[in-house]
Symmetry: none
Subunit: 223 residues, 4 copies
DNA sequence: GATGAATGAGTATTCATTCAT
DNA sequence: GATGAATGAATACTCATTCAT
């Protein structure tokens, strides 16, 4: 946990530092993040960094916590009431929210992305937890979908969840690349980019693929 | 490019060094790869490393090139004659070959995997190039599929290729995790693990999802 | 010298701070004394420390002066009237008083002890001065002893004073180690430990050694 | 243990570095020894220090080992055959050898001196071992002396050993101060200073004090 | 007079790279 | 061509001291 000194900072200064921290930790491996570079860019003294944070790890864990917490609250806010019928409705909401978060918080996204992939000072279990986080959610979703007849019962449920997850994790990047959106441009206008009709179409198409791929097929034989 | 001195090495010695390089670069971040560790394990002098390679980066780029080239040739070898009908047949071949490569060359796979994810000393464009490498192939495949009527014409072709790619890139890891296969066990028995019926089933299921998701739907309305 | 602000402090608060300072400087090397630890333990602001003292060195010198002054006044108080006959009587008094001081003021003792041994920010001359402090007293004592016939005239007076001093400086530690007295236990019951018969016997034996060693030998030949 | 690289250094360079190390560790607390200062003074690169030594502690332990080993071999060489009669003969030899070592190896002396007094990275047991080293030897000597009738049986043996030790540990410094010998002058001419008649007289006097102080007193009454 | 955040020179240690042998 | 010692800029982190509030 950051020390009180960090939270006591004037909102403006804290935000300034936070922005630099986010950028550094988003753009670099944990190992490659340099405290010296941070303090230089932030225009603060080396010692100040250590008045705000226990150490580099403390700083990182704070940002990671922030990322996960923000993502959770963003998703929760975007999810439809649980009563909505059909897992694909849920999925559509979720996918849009996920991409939405990635667009409006590219740094936080990147930080939580790295938590899974990078060599990061987390107990291996914690990394596993984070990694399996979305998979578990998708597993539940698939179970529900099968019970309700939205998903074909003869598909391995794990593979179905895998497909959900693979699309969920990568669609944001794909859209950004496809629409040639520079990450930097997102900082000023995150949601804007997402709500473009083009982005919406791409998301919808991706969902259609999953929906058709997983929905029970009509009685007729095939292949 | 490695210097001539490296290629002039006796095949045996070069292979010995190569193995150690592959393992080091597969198991560690670029930043965490230690030249000192390499030369120790390889039993060569530090100076020798720099007589073989310009520097660490040169060495890395060589291995990365090797990885991509080997993967290409592995896939090319595994692909059916171009005359095979149906893109999903091609896709099935490809997916199996891709997973097969991952299973029989875990180090090379890991190295090319890291090229996309890690902080690696590549110009951003080069990283983009690698990232889009398979995408381009899938784009062609989708175009062909649409022309031949295997893929629904009302789906965005990019999204279709994206779906192919997302599954292609992650299926290997998923299977390894699902079947609890340790990477180390692959070194001795790569293909073996893949040919297990369980692995085959998972791959087949994944293809079925894509096939159903992308195939043209019968005239009847749905959703 | 501490600033006025320190002496203007309420007696209670000043004593509180003083106790903590004494403990810190007694238990740690000068270099290892941490201003941060001091102000934490004392419950004062870091800035306050610098309002009381010029700097760490100023603080240290104050405590050192205190230690020497207290020791002096303790010894002076314990000494018999100057009229007492026989330097060994004086010495016995002195030795007991010295050990007594060490037992009842372990912190102050330790601080002046460190002044000689530790790497302390004193000009080398000052350290020499402190070191020679007690020596000078013993030199006078020896001169007196020789005049009065208590000390053999054929012994180098400096060596005699040296012997006094060597015993004087180290006897306290020896007794503490011998009787397995923990320094911490002294804080509550300093004099008690000293007045034990065992301690008295050890002190008496040490004096007998010096007395016999320095007293003029009977006319008989020797060695 | 220093690495081979240190021992492979040309004798000249190794000696140069060794001298600087000895001086630094003799003149400063372990904590106050600065690797940066060492490499500056020695004119070598920071990295070189770490090619010679594992770390600062490794370097220190090497010097300490050297000090103890050199002292042992110096003393062993100076001791008379065990058959010499009389503990005071032994003591005379020992004292002269001890002072002799201090004069000819002032840095090594200082380093082993610090091992007992300073905050040094040694397990507490090791420190106790070093500390009790000479005391144990003196305890044996006293026992022997009592058995052979050289030491009065009514003196506490521990106090007798303490007296030996107190003189043994401090006589060298006293003589240096008394004869105004600067430590630096010893480097060029250690033994010379010691063999001066003045120094010899002082040592002899100190022994006479101990001898008379501890020897059994004639039947006549005393005190 | 009290506060505690800000400072920056200082610490030990690492490691890719060079270069004399 | 092979060697491995030498290099020095880089790393995270500490702490006595200052100074604005």
């Amino acid at each position: 946990m950051p020390k009180d000194t960090f939270f006591n900072l004037s909102g403006e200064k804290r935000q300034h530092i936070l922005n630099i921290l986010l950028e550094e930790f988003a753009e670099n491996d944990y190992k490659n993040v340099s405290v010296a570079r941070i303090v230089n860019r932030a225009g603060i003294a080396k010692g100040s960094f250590y008045q705000y944070f226990e150490d580099k790890k403390d700083c990182y864990l704070y940002l990671l916590g922030l990322a996960m917490q923000e993502k959770m609250s963003f998703l929760r806010q975007s999810l439809p009431p649980d009563t909505t019928p059909g897992v694909f409705h849920t999925l559509r909401w979720l996918l849009k929210a996920g991409v939405g978060f990635e667009f409006s918080n590219p740094w936080l996204s990147q930080i939580s992305y790295r938590a899974v992939l990078d060599d990061v000072p987390l107990p291996e279990e914690t990394k596993a937890l984070i990694r399996s986080g979305s998979m578990q959610y998708f597993n539940q979703l698939v179970q529900k979908g099968m019970k309700e007849g939205d998903i074909a019962p003869d598909i391995d449920p794990g593979v179905a969840a895998f497909a959900f997850n693979a699309v969920f994790m990568n669609l944001g990047s794909y859209i950004m690349e496809r629409l040639k959106i520079a990450p930097s441009s997102l900082l000023e206008n995150g949601q804007g980019a997402l709500t473009s009709p083009k982005a919406q179409t791409l998301i919808d198409d991706a969902i259609r693929v999953l929906e058709n791929g997983l929905a029970p097929r009509p009685r007729a034989a095939e292949e």
